[in-house]
């Protein structure tokens, strides 16, 4: 089985979720005498490529066309489809993101492959049978599908597989791709990105605040805890609706869905729509002064107490163990 992995970069750095995608591909390849080829489009720091080998890629194809330095869903799909066909690949793996998911979908149409997103486990492959499990109803359930088409594109959720770091060296080969003017019809006017912060969808730890924080002026205690943990900050829907926090921090069914190792919810009661956005977190800690808050039922650990007293203590305790 020939597996191609789409690598997403950010300012020349390979995203961690793409290393997870390579590890995921390696897990499939290991069971099915497969090969794993990583495809990097546009600018990348050479020093970053080694990590792709350690994550399980045996070959890296690098299309260093400068037109690909700026992320473009259309151009990425055209480039990926050409390489998928040129390499006679059977399977394309991408890590879920605002860029990779639609690029993967468009690639699937171009190469005539089946498209399955939101995948959460390594597929079961036996002979021609290919079964894959994906999250549905915003994490409230799963479905197992048999993919019947011979060519396949899978978009994998974060934390679907343990990241591999003990692979070997991968060979690097330059490739050229087909992109046309039509791939750049969409013109980017401006990009606003918070610099230096841990991005919510990528974060290993998320600290979220709700109405229990009483106002945006009190967010300092959330930020201090997040800063100590190297975490991203999130919020509940009412908080973003009231403009206490920006929309891109809204965690939940109609906001950002997260699957970190640790999710700390502070002053959030736990509406079903919020739980849907966090229920694939590995560990959930809930801090709320209302012992009846429904969130406690979904939590692994709970503290019944006032956020304004608990959070500074928690931040200090974590600082103490980290020092």
């Amino acid at each position: 089985m020939s597996i191609l992995v789409f690598i997403e970069t950010d300012n020349g750095n390979v995203k961690k979720s793409s290393l997870e995608a390579v590890s995921y591909a390696h897990a499939i390849a290991a069971q099915n005498q497969g090969t794993v080829t990583a495809l990097v489009l546009g600018k990348v720091e050479e020093s970053q490529l080694g990590a792709l080998g350690m994550a399980g890629a045996s070959k890296i194809l690098h299309a260093d066309d400068t037109a690909l330095d700026t992320p473009s869903i259309m151009a990425y799909a055209s480039a990926t489809a050409k390489i998928f066909n040129d390499t006679n690949s059977d399977l394309l793996i991408l890590a879920q993101s605002a860029l990779a998911t639609p690029a993967g979908a468009r690639t699937a149409v171009k190469v005539g492959a089946a498209m399955v997103s939101n995948v959460i486990e390594v597929p079961e492959v036996s002979g021609d049978s290919f079964k894959v499990k994906r999250g549905i109803f915003t994490g409230k359930a799963f479905e197992t599908l048999t993919v019947t088409a011979p060519k396949k594109v899978l978009v994998v959720k974060k934390n679907a597989v343990e990241m591999k770091t003990d692979g070997g060296d991968a060979t690097v080969e330059k490739v050229s791709v087909d992109i046309s003017e039509g791939d750049f019809k969409l013109k980017v006017l401006e990009t606003h990105k918070q610099e230096g912060d841990v991005l919510l969808p990528e974060a290993e730890i998320v600290v979220s605040g709700g109405r229990g924080l009483k106002g945006p002026e009190n967010w300092g205690i959330i930020e201090e805890l997040a800063g100590t943990l190297g975490a991203a900050t999130g919020c509940s829907k009412p908080v973003s609706d009231m403009d206490w926090r920006p929309h891109h921090e809204h965690v939940g069914q109609t906001g950002i869905k997260v699957s970190p190792n640790l999710y700390i919810a502070v002053g959030i009661s736990g509406a079903i729509q919020h739980l849907a956005g966090v229920n694939s977190s590995k560990c959930i800690v809930v801090i709320n002064k209302d012992p009846e808050a429904p969130f406690f039922k979904a939590a692994d650990y709970g503290v019944v107490g006032d956020a304004f007293e608990v959070l500074p203590k928690l931040t200090e305790a974590i600082k103490a163990v980290k020092s």
Partner: protein, 245 residues
């Protein structure tokens, strides 16, 4: 301006999820169905653009006859007419193929939908439709203005947003705060009853996936409550037991 809005017919966000027939069918008993929340935002913005640009809004749903109350609600909100592709939505490629087949000859300036459905969460139908029609697809769109055949949009990116410009036509997956949800008024509800709802048969689309079965997450163990004055114990548990610090 001709706008096509694709809507899903999905269980309410608070619905209890259960399955029947050896976990191969969604249990609809006692479940209220709604317009997909993200699709509702797309529809609301379409109705505003229609008013501003003297346009028309057609709603499209891929579904069996039981989705018609949901389609009528979209008509009550302000769509002019509706098309129902008479088929159960099986997977994202099938749905996208039906949308593309309807849109192909419709000369729509904008094809809008939610960024994803809240039942199957594929989040790719807009991109598949875009590719099938050879149009640019953009998602998730939080702001959409149209002037002189060009759209200016804000779309969410990880940790921020991006403003983009694109000539019509295109396909967009929408989300809040692109518009305020609209609640149908009595006049809208009355007129919706007589607005045209055309039923068309599906086009053939190759089956790519087959459902084996649905499943539910394993039940969570009981929460471990830590006292407010024993925060050090919580940190120890997160380190040694949960191994997340």
């Amino acid at each position: 301006m001709k706008i096509l809005v694709c809507i899903t017919h999905v269980p309410d966000t608070t619905a209890k999820i259960a399955f029947t027939d050896s976990n191969t069918k969604f249990d609809e008993s006692g479940v209220q169905f709604i317009i997909g929340p993200y699709d509702d935002y797309a529809l609301a913005r379409a109705v505003e653009l229609k008013a501003a640009h003297n346009g028309t809004v057609t709603v499209l749903n891929v579904g069996l006859a039981n989705t018609e109350p949901t389609i009528r609600k979209a008509l009550a909100i302000g769509a002019d007419d509706a098309i129902r592709v008479n088929a159960a939505p099986t997977d994202s490629f099938f749905v996208a193929s039906q949308i593309a087949a309807v849109a192909k000859d419709g000369n729509y300036d904008l094809i809008l939908m939610g960024r994803e459905s809240i039942d199957f969460n594929s989040g790719v139908v807009h991109a598949l439709v875009g590719e099938l029609l050879g149009l640019v697809s953009v998602s998730p769109v939080m702001k959409l203005e149209v002037k002189d055949g060009v759209a200016i949009m804000d779309r969410e990116i990880e940790g921020g947003k991006q403003s983009v410009e694109i000539p019509l036509p295109f396909v967009a997956g929408c989300q809040e705060p692109i518009a305020e949800w609209k609640i149908p008024n009595m006049r809208g509800i009355m007129t919706a009853r007589t607005k045209p709802l055309q039923v068309v048969e599906p086009v053939g689309a190759e089956e790519q996936v087959k459902l084996d079965q649905y499943s539910l997450p394993e039940a969570k163990g009981a929460v471990k409550i830590v006292q407010q004055d024993q925060i050090d114990d919580l940190v120890k548990m997160l380190q040694n037991e949960a191994k997340v610090l």
